[in-house]
């Protein structure tokens, strides 16, 4: 049976038009979706803007009452006294001391673990050790706080009789333990990225494995290792629960690790937990301290990113 060409043409056109109309909403939907997704994606940007805006706008209230100079050079922090003084240096000292102790523990042990796992360990041991270190990294910080307060402090007291019940030494050490997996795994990644041909070259020249590690692997992976250390420092500065539990709330401006010292993070917890009335100077001091903390950690993270970016392409 012959169908005339004209009728067929009209049919197809109709079908196309019908389907076009049917799919109109779908086409519009295709246009709406990117906009919707963009709005969702911009939430993360809004979070950053929100954090910075809040910290600055509330800190301004604080700096109206306490001068910038007094805050950053004051060695006395007595927010609750009738003649209050707001110097941030005791808190910076606490944060600095605990971070230093933590790095004393985490740096050598973390780096040596990284060297062992990347250069020495047989595959079997690697398969057992790596997940165990990941477990260590996955334990909530509050558990480390409990550990520092109920076990490490009493143990240390046997060695150092003058140790106070809350002190900066014990949380510093425990914080170091918490950070070991971070340094170990980031540095190990950096060491694994060093091409094998470089190791083989040195080994063929008669170098021992230790010499390969010290003279080839570590210098080549240095940017990644330093980046991991800087990130670890940033993590230690921002760590809250361990120091809050185990280091108490004395605002000491000294270097005595056997005494209680408050960190910036612990101060924030103390003030918010104490129901400081909104609008008081103590309440606003919270934001000034938080901003100091934020600037420090942001700086560390930027430095770490800069280091790993700048020297990354060297061996590719």
């Amino acid at each position: 049976m012959a169908i005339s060409p004209e009728t067929k043409k009209i049919d197809v056109q109709q079908i196309i038009e019908q389907s076009y109309q049917k799919n109109q909403w779908r086409r519009n939907g295709e246009k709406v979706i990117p906009v919707l997704l963009f709005l969702i994606a911009s939430i993360t940007v809004c979070t950053t803007i929100g954090i910075i805006y809040i910290l600055i706008s509330e800190s301004i209230h604080f700096f109206k009452e306490v001068s910038f100079l007094e805050f950053f050079t004051g060695t006395v922090l007595k927010p609750l006294s009738s003649n209050p003084s707001f110097g941030v240096l005791p808190l910076l000292m606490g944060t600095f001391t605990s971070t230093l102790i933590a790095m004393f523990v985490a740096l050598p042990i973390g780096l040596m673990s990284a060297i062992y796992l990347s250069e020495y360990a047989p595959a079997k041991i690697r398969r057992v050790c790596k997940p165990l270190l990941e477990v260590l990294a996955g334990i909530p910080t509050i558990v480390y706080g409990f550990f520092a307060f109920t076990l490490v402090t009493p143990l240390l007291k046997n060695i150092i009789p003058g140790l106070e019940a809350t002190n900066i030494l014990s949380p510093g050490i425990v914080m170091g333990i918490m950070i070991i997996p971070m340094i170990a795994s980031l540095s190990e990644d950096a060491m694994n990225a060093v091409p094998f041909s470089m190791r083989e070259g040195a080994l063929a020249m008669g170098a021992t494995k230790l010499e390969v590690v010290i003279k080839i692997v570590i210098p080549s992976a240095l940017s990644g290792i330093i980046a991991s250390i800087v990130l670890a420092i940033s993590r230690a500065i921002g760590e809250t629960m361990i120091v809050t539990i185990a280091s108490g709330s004395t605002k000491n401006f000294s270097f005595d690790v056997t005494k209680s010292m408050q960190t910036m993070t612990a101060y924030i917890v103390e003030v918010t937990g104490g129901d400081a009335p909104a609008g008081s100077t103590i309440y606003y001091s919270l934001y000034a301290v938080a901003m100091t903390l934020f600037v420090f950690t942001l700086l560390m993270n930027l430095i770490a990113r800069f280091i790993s970016k700048k020297w990354k392409a060297q061996y590719e």
């Binding site: 969702i40 993360t44 360990a121 070991i180 938080a290 993270n301």
Partner: protein, 290 residues
């Protein structure tokens, strides 16, 4: 000749010593993990019984139970999980499939990387200022959940991005070739095949939120809350916060340290369960895909 041999021996011995030292350093972390778990279990295990899991909080250690913190954790996750999933997956889709490499993309990406490094306590201050005081929500589950969702958002976005990137391109090419639109391809092809990895990432970021304490203390979780939460608009407390207050008060009542240890066991078991689920999903996915 003798001189060279002597030097050689020293170098070999040094290498052997170094190997042992490195091994000891690696085992240090693992030994501490063992000591930590031993301490927690020896202090807390005998305190765990059905009463402990089903009773409300109480000042007397024998009667105290952690039903409130358990329910609080569950309610908190009911807020955190959907919020992070929607925002995390949405952002990941936008970054991976709707933007070309350019200013907007690198801006958002850099921003996410920086957010991941912000201390959790700063998120607490954000939550307290915006949700608790600004929006007048008070210290309820919703406010805590939104704060936590923002906190784990960077982890969840990065995990979802990796999941989407891992979908083989021939799948979406086939879909486009059949005449599917972009969104149809995303909804019917890319998301289903990325789903296991997305879920794995989501579970891992949730377990981060479950163990987090500092932001919730900052937004003002009460130290001693007997009433049980029954909706997202109720006041609540969670397991880590309860551990915190019991540990602090253990200087006054010694048994509180045992209660804290018992609560830690419950928390660790919960986290272990979540991580095992994530691993199971990942393994199953790997098997079916290859």
């Amino acid at each position: 000749m003798k001189h060279i041999e002597k030097r050689m021996n020293i170098r070999i011995v040094l290498n052997k010593i170094a190997k042992i030292v490195f091994l000891l350093a690696t085992s240090f972390g693992i030994v501490v993990l063992g000591v930590l778990l031993y301490k927690v279990f020896s202090d807390g295990l005998s305190w765990i019984n059905t009463g402990f899991l089903t009773n409300k909080l109480s000042t007397s250690p024998e009667k105290a139970g952690i039903l409130g913190p358990i329910l609080g954790t569950v309610w908190l996750m009911l807020v955190v999980a959907p919020v992070t999933m929607i925002i995390g997956v949405g952002t990941a889709i936008y970054l991976e499939l709707y933007t070309k490499k350019g200013i907007i993309r690198s801006l958002i990406q850099t921003n996410i990387a920086n957010l991941a490094g912000v201390p959790s306590i700063v998120y607490g201050i954000l939550g307290m200022t915006v949700f608790v005081r600004g929006l007048q929500l008070g210290n309820i589950v919703l406010a805590g959940g939104l704060t936590m969702a923002l906190l784990i958002l960077p982890i969840s976005i990065v995990a979802s991005q990796e999941a989407i990137r891992a979908v083989p391109p021939h799948l979406s090419e086939a879909s486009f070739g059949m005449g599917a639109t972009k969104w149809q391809t995303i909804r019917n092809v890319i998301l289903p095949s990325a789903l296991p990895s997305i879920l794995t990432g989501a579970i891992l970021s949730l377990s981060r939120a479950i163990g987090e304490t500092a932001p919730l203390i900052v937004i003002g979780i009460p130290a001693f809350l007997i009433s049980l939460p029954s909706s997202i608009f109720d006041k609540f407390t969670v397991l880590p916060v309860q551990i915190y207050y019991w540990t602090l008060d253990s200087t006054m009542v010694r048994e509180y340290a045992n209660l804290a240890a018992a609560t830690i066991i419950v928390l660790l078991v919960l986290l272990l369960g979540l991580n095992l689920t994530a691993i199971l999903i990942r393994n199953k996915f790997q098997k079916t895909y290859q």
